[in-house]
Amino acid sequence: MSELSDDIKRALAALPREEQPDPALEERVVRVVIGRRRRWVWLSAVAAAAMVLVLTHPWSRAGAGGQTYLLLLSPGPAYLTPPPGHLDERRAEYGRWADSLARLGKLEVGGRLEPPGDIVDGLFIIRAADDADAARIAATCPHNKYRGHIELRRFIE
C-alpha cells in the first residue's frame, strides 16, 4: 500500500481535532433533543388517554369480534422527511390511508399529533381480526414507504 511522506504525516498529525461550530447550533440541538423528549412524554400521555377511551368504549367489550390495536408512528432513525413544500402533500397521503381504513370499518381513532412539526407523528387505533391482520394493516401505512417507525401494540381486552 502506498505510504504518505513524513511531511504529510506530520501535517496530518498537526491538524486540529476540534473546531467550534456556530454557537447558535447548541440552541438548535438542545431545542430538538430536549423538545423531542418532551413531545414523547406528551405522546405517552395521549396514548394513555387513548387507552382509557378504548377500554371504556362499547366496542372494546369481550366478544365484539376482533381485537383493538394501537399504532404509534414515529420518525425513527431512517425517516425520510418530505422535501421542502411537500409536508401538506405527505400529510394528505396519511389522511387518505386513514380514510381507507375508516371506510373498511377498521379505524376507530386516528390522526396527527400536535404540536405540528416537520415530521409526521401519528396515533391510530384500529380493529383487526388478530395480530397478523393488524400487522398487515400496519404494513399498508405510508409511513413504511418513508422508512418511519411504527409500533404496533394490542390492547388487553
Binding site: 500500500m1 502506498s2 511522506s5 496530518l12 476540534e18 447548541e26 440541538v29 438542545v30 433533543v33 421542502p84
Partner: protein, 161 residues
C-alpha cells in the same frame, strides 16, 4: 433550565467540537452540512444512548454515530437533491494546513471518509469496515487511492506556487 437540559448541554459542549471537526472533514468543509450532521448525531445518540456499551470512549461512539448518519444521508436521494453546492469555507489560517485540508476536501466522498477516519482519526481498517458497512479490502484500496490523490494534489499545489 432543567437538570436534564443542563446535563445535556455539558455533554454537548464537551464533545461537539470533536464531532464538528470530523463532520467538516467528512463533508469537504461544508459548514451547513457539518452542522446538520452534528445535530442529527445528537438526536440519534440521545435516542440510542442505552445501546452505548461503554467498551469504547463515548467520543469514539459518538463519532461512529456521526459516520453512520452521514452514510445514510449519502444513500438518501432526497438528501442528495437538497445538498447545497459545496465550496471549501473557513479553512485554517496556516498555509500548509490549508493546502492539506483543501486536498482532503477535494477527495471523492468514499475515499475521503476512509482517509479521514484512518489517517486523521486513527481508525483501523476493521473498524472502518464495520462503521461504513464495507469489507476491509475496500477500506484498504480506497485508502491507497486517497493517498495517491492527496499526494498528487499536494504536489501539483507546490508546483503551481
Amino acid at each position: 433550565m432543567t437538570g436534564g437540559e443542563g446535563a445535556f448541554r455539558l455533554l454537548y459542549r464537551t464533545h461537539t467540537p470533536a464531532l464538528y471537526a470530523l463532520a467538516l472533514r467528512l463533508t469537504g468543509r461544508d459548514q451547513h452540512e457539518a452542522e446538520d450532521l452534528v445535530q442529527e448525531t445528537w438526536v440519534r445518540a440521545t435516542r440510542k444512548m442505552s445501546t452505548f456499551r461503554g467498551d469504547s470512549a463515548l467520543r469514539t461512539w459518538l463519532c461512529g454515530v456521526l459516520v453512520n448518519v452521514r452514510r445514510e444521508r449519502l444513500r438518501s436521494a432526497w438528501r442528495m437533491v437538497d445538498a447545497p453546492e459545496i465550496e471549501p469555507v473557513s479553512p485554517p489560517r496556516d498555509d500548509a494546513a490549508f493546502d492539506l485540508e483543501r486536498a482532503i476536501a477535494a477527495l471523492p466522498d468514499g475515499a475521503r471518509d476512509i482517509f479521514v477516519l484512518h489517517e486523521v482519526y486513527g481508525y483501523a481498517h476493521h473498524e472502518i469496515a464495520e462503521l461504513l458497512g464495507v469489507v476491509e479490502g475496500t477500506s484498504k484500496s480506497q485508502l491507497s487511492r486517497a493517498r495517491a490523490l492527496l499526494r498528487q494534489a499536494l504536489n501539483s499545489g507546490e508546483a503551481t506556487r
